[in-house]
């Protein structure tokens, strides 16, 4: 369990030091005024693609000797487009995706507890009404 704590700490420090958790950086991203956020996500994805392609060719596995636990999404588009749009609206308001909501609580911005409670409420309501939504 210590390993997950350490990886989480690396993630939290990185997102704070690079200002990815700042509402301002998200507002700047959605106005296309800076390369910063696109560089962050773009370089992470490029390296992620390289890593997974290398892993496949070289047969890398988890330390337990199992294939990587990549989640394969079922094909379709409705839930991804519609749910993604709803999340994007929340991301622009709070300036924080789920990771930063937790990280900002640690960084001492106490009002972030309000959108954190909101996210739990939103998750709960989704659980109640999901059968009535297109997926």
């Amino acid at each position: 369990m210590w390993l997950y704590l350490l990886i989480g700490m690396l993630f939290g420090v990185t997102l704070t030091q690079a200002e990815i958790v700042s509402w301002y950086r998200i507002a700047e991203m959605f106005q296309f005024d800076s390369f910063h956020m696109y560089g962050v996500i773009g370089s992470a994805v490029v390296l992620g693609v390289l890593f997974l392609q290398l892993a496949r060719r070289l047969g890398w596995q988890s330390v337990e000797g199992k294939p990587f636990a990549i989640y394969v999404y079922p094909m379709g588009w409705k839930r991804f487009l519609l749910g993604g749009t709803v999340f994007g609206m929340g991301w622009a308001i709070t300036g924080a995706c789920p990771g930063p909501l937790f990280i900002l609580a640690g960084a001492g911005y106490s009002p972030v507890l309000i959108p954190l409670v909101g996210a739990l409420l939103g998750t709960f309501v989704y659980g109640l009404v999901r059968h009535r939504l297109p997926h």
């Binding site: 989480g8 704070t16 800076s34 892993a55 640690g106 009002p111 909101g118 939103g122």
Partner: protein, 187 residues
């Protein structure tokens, strides 16, 4: 040495470190995705009584709760100790736009005090904005089955079309909100 932490990390440091986090979790036999923790936390709070969506074995996801505990500690390490009084070096265009929205001194603090300053606790109107924003994050990420880490990083890295569609959705929602709603929220 201290300059390493006093200055904001550039994208070409942060992006690769995020990829390292994803790779480390995969080597450990897990996967990188934050928003499913909201579902786990609802389960722990007893939401299984209301919907089978929350009748999951939270013990299998305990590692991810430990991961987000780590992110909270990482935020504290950086925000309270390594870089306690950061300013954000925003583009001048963004500063001008945010000022026209009615925000004070954009970038002079790490977060806009209008949304995340201590005085917010005395402003119920701001609670409502933050609560709605958070609600959309929670509802949308479960509907889309992933957030920035699950779709934009893990999903795109594994070349999955559903994740690309989700990321397009993130931007449809984000751009709509940023250009049609946020300009009128702070006056």
């Amino acid at each position: 040495m201290m300059g390493l932490f006093e200055n904001a990390w550039p994208w070409y440091v942060a992006g690769p470190l995020i990829a390292v986090c994803m790779a480390a979790l995969l080597f450990a036999g897990k996967r990188f995705g934050v928003s499913s923790n909201f579902q786990t936390l609802c389960t722990l709070a007893g939401a299984g009584r209301f919907s089978d969506f929350f009748r999951i074995d939270w013990r299998e996801r305990k590692w991810n709760l430990v991961f987000i505990l780590g992110t909270v500690l990482g935020g504290a390490l950086s925000g309270l100790w390594l870089r306690p009084q950061p300013t954000v070096d925003l583009s001048s265009d963004t500063v001008a736009t945010l000022e026209s929205w009615g925000l004070q001194d954009p970038g002079a603090t790490f977060e806009p005090m209008e949304l995340y300053g201590p005085e917010v606790w005395g402003q119920p109107g701001t609670w409502l904005i933050l609560l709605i924003g958070g609600f959309l994050v929670g509802f949308g990420t479960r509907w889309a089955d992933g957030c920035t880490s699950g779709h934009a990083i893990s999903g795109l890295s594994s070349l999955q079309l559903p994740s690309l569609i989700a990321v397009v959705g993130f931007f449809i929602g984000g751009l709509t909100m940023t250009h049609w709603v946020l300009p009128y929220l702070f006056h």
